[in-house]
């Protein structure tokens, strides 16, 4: 009896493992093909069925990408844009989220509703008016101009607000007030340390939001050296041809930083999302 049920559960686990493995392979396949393509000759890329391991691996594509395009410059642009946007969003979200969670006045509730309302308006709707403002400010082709659309994230404010409500009891703040702490001191020394998880999660979200954004940079950036990676990569696709080998090599090269960041922050990311409301 036990033996058979043991065998059955083992068989079930094996089936599950196989299924997960297949899904994993399907998810990874485009990525693997992309990386492989980067090492292929232009002829091999067009071979059908596609090869997973290049027959005649070459570094030529990478060499051309780095010599013909300012790829490092683009990576630097993207990185600074994503990092600055992340820092701005973390600061605005924690401050605003804390205030809307703990300072209950009707005016603040109205403001919070307005914050949330901005989430239902697609960015593309106000992208063009925003472009004219950036242009008027003379901030086209600059990180500053890029950042204007990415300083505040309504979801971030919401995320922090929920976590403050769940993880920071009123008594903690009141105890600190009686103990002699000022409001900003309380925010910095009591509230922020208790929000480490959600802040890490928000950082990852904000970073990738800026890192992967395309529409706004392509509107604001026209000079080649000011491009972010997304815009730069799109540039490989000219009106007449697509240089697949070059595009693959460039894509594979720029994937490295994002994969690294995610691997490094993965734990806090998952914890931050999962932690909301589950504190002791």
């Amino acid at each position: 009896m036990t033996v058979s049920s043991n065998t059955r559960s083992r068989r079930k686990n094996l089936l599950l493992d196989i299924m997960l493995f297949v899904i994993c392979v399907l998810l990874l396949m485009p990525l693997l093909l992309l990386i492989a393509n980067g090492f292929k000759t232009p002829q091999e890329i067009l071979v059908w069925p596609p090869t997973i391991l290049p027959k005649d691996p070459t570094l030529e594509n990478f060499h051309r990408v780095f010599s013909e395009t300012p790829l490092f410059r683009w990576i630097f642009n993207s990185l600074s844009f994503a990092l600055l946007s992340m820092i701005a969003i973390v600061i605005t979200s924690t401050l605003a989220g804390y205030v809307v969670a703990k300072f209950q006045f009707w005016t603040i509730n109205v403001i919070f509703t307005l914050f949330l309302a901005t989430a239902i308006i697609p960015f593309e709707v106000y992208m063009i008016p925003l472009y004219f403002q950036v242009k008027a400010l003379g901030a086209l082709n600059s990180i500053g101009g890029l950042l204007i659309g990415y300083l505040v994230m309504s979801f971030g404010i919401f995320l922090i607000r929920q976590n403050v409500i769940a993880a920071v009891p009123d008594e903690l703040i009141e105890a600190a007030r009686i103990d002699g702490a000022g409001e900003f001191w309380i925010f910095w020394h009591i509230v922020v340390p208790l929000l480490k998880g959600p802040i890490a999660a928000l950082s990852v979200l904000a970073f990738f939001q800026a890192w992967t954004t395309f529409a706004w940079p392509i509107v604001v950036l026209t000079r080649k050296t000011a491009f972010t990676i997304e815009v730069g990569l799109a540039n490989f696709q000219s009106a007449y041809t697509v240089d697949l080998a070059l595009l693959s090599a460039a894509s594979a090269a720029v994937m490295v930083p994002s994969v690294l960041v995610f691997v490094l922050l993965r734990r806090s990311f998952v914890e931050g999302i999962a932690a909301s409301g589950m504190k002791e």
Binding site: P169, E171, L172, E174, A175, A176, R177, I178, D179, G180, A181, G182, W185, I190, P193, L194, E280
Partner: protein
């Protein structure tokens, strides 16, 4: 050490007034318990004193200085919260030294003060732990330590023992009382548990619905309650109230079920009244006065016997300090001393003294 005075204190939340002009004075070094059912306004008084809420009207004074508009951090008050409010990311030592750090005291000073208080409270070996690594009782001690270390003028306790189990609560009660007699700091203690109030406080303030019902020493409240609310609230199990009627000059007070009682000193009264008698004032011995009841259930705890009885359509609870052999359904007559009886006006609940 400081005296605290509350003058005609009012507090409204929106259109709802929750404190309707409360006044009392707490002498220097006294231990005062504010007690009453939930929603009576006792915690509000504490929060007003702490500076966590704004006073709607009236005055709060510490050492004869009005503190209505003084910020919480400048009132020199320490408060212990019901859920302890320990900073979860700080160690016990950091929690306890928090206020001293804000006062910009030197590190050596803080360490010495924290260590000293930790020794007094018996938590010396826990200083490096985080709050989540402590038991409920230990957290309670840390919360008290955090308050004591500042040497404030006034301690405020907001139901500090209600999250502890029954055994620990009794132990902490004794420790708190010992601590107070040692430090002699003016203490205001909010609780809904009248036993805590009775056992620890020098003065008990009984509140209901934003009014003070009675202020007095614990045994004064027990012996001479001003009204049926205080009489019912102080003492456990609660006092029995039996409706009676009497005619002027007759001195005979009749219960609903045909029984009656002769109270010569109240013969001038007429109308409907409540007779109050505490469960522990009934006796097994036959006395001249008594009450016949039908026993419904018997709970033996060893030290005492608790009887749930019925007299007419009234429930009567009786506590005997001896063993008692009877079975449910039996009728029995219990005696009492007239001196232990309380008489209240039926409508207003006001106590009637002879």
């Amino acid at each position: 050490m400081s005296s605290v005075e509350i003058r005609n204190l009012r507090k409204s939340f929106g259109p709802t007034e929750v404190l309707h002009g409360v006044s009392f004075t707490i002498p220097d070094g006294a231990f005062v318990a504010l007690v009453g059912p939930s929603g009576c306004g006792k915690s509000t008084i504490l929060r007003l004193l702490a500076g966590l809420e704004e006073v709607s009207d009236g005055e709060l004074l510490i050492d004869d200085r009005v503190i209505n508009d003084v910020e919480a951090k400048n009132r020199d008050i320490a408060m212990v919260f019901q859920n302890y409010a320990l900073y979860p990311h700080m160690t016990v030592a950091e929690n306890m030294g928090f206020s001293l750090r804000l006062m910009k005291r030197s590190k050596a000073d803080i360490t010495a003060a924290v260590k000293n208080v930790a020794e007094v409270l018996g938590i010396g070996e826990l200083l490096d732990r985080l709050p989540k690594q402590l038991s409920g009782g230990q957290r309670q001690r840390v919360a008290m330590g955090r308050a004591i270390v500042r040497q404030p003028k006034v301690f405020l306790f907001d139901e500090p023992l209600s999250n502890l189990d029954a055994k620990l609560r009794v132990q902490m009660r004794a420790e708190l009382k010992a601590l107070h007699s040692r430090l002699q700091t003016t203490t205001i203690y909010v609780t809904h548990d009248q036993i805590e109030a009775m056992t620890m406080a020098d003065i008990v303030v009984v509140m209901r619905d934003g009014f003070i019902e009675q202020i007095g020493r614990p045994l004064d409240l027990y012996d001479n309650p001003k009204n049926s609310f205080v009489a019912g609230f102080i003492g456990s199990p609660a006092m029995n109230f039996l409706p009676v009627t009497t005619e002027a000059g007759s001195a005979t007070f009749s219960f609903g079920d045909g029984q009656s009682l002769s109270l010569a000193k109240f013969k001038h009264l007429q109308g409907e009244f409540l007779i109050g008698i505490r469960p522990e004032h009934f006796q097994q011995q036959k006395t001249r006065n008594g009450l016949s009841v039908t026993i419904e259930s018997i709970e033996q705890t060893g030290a005492e016997t608790l009887l749930q009885c019925q007299s007419g359509d009234q429930k009567v609870v009786i506590v005997l300090h001896d063993r008692f052999a009877a079975s449910p359904g039996e009728e029995y007559r219990f005696g009492f001393d007239l001196a232990d009886l309380h008489l209240f006006e039926a409508e207003s609940g006001k106590a009637i003294s002879s």
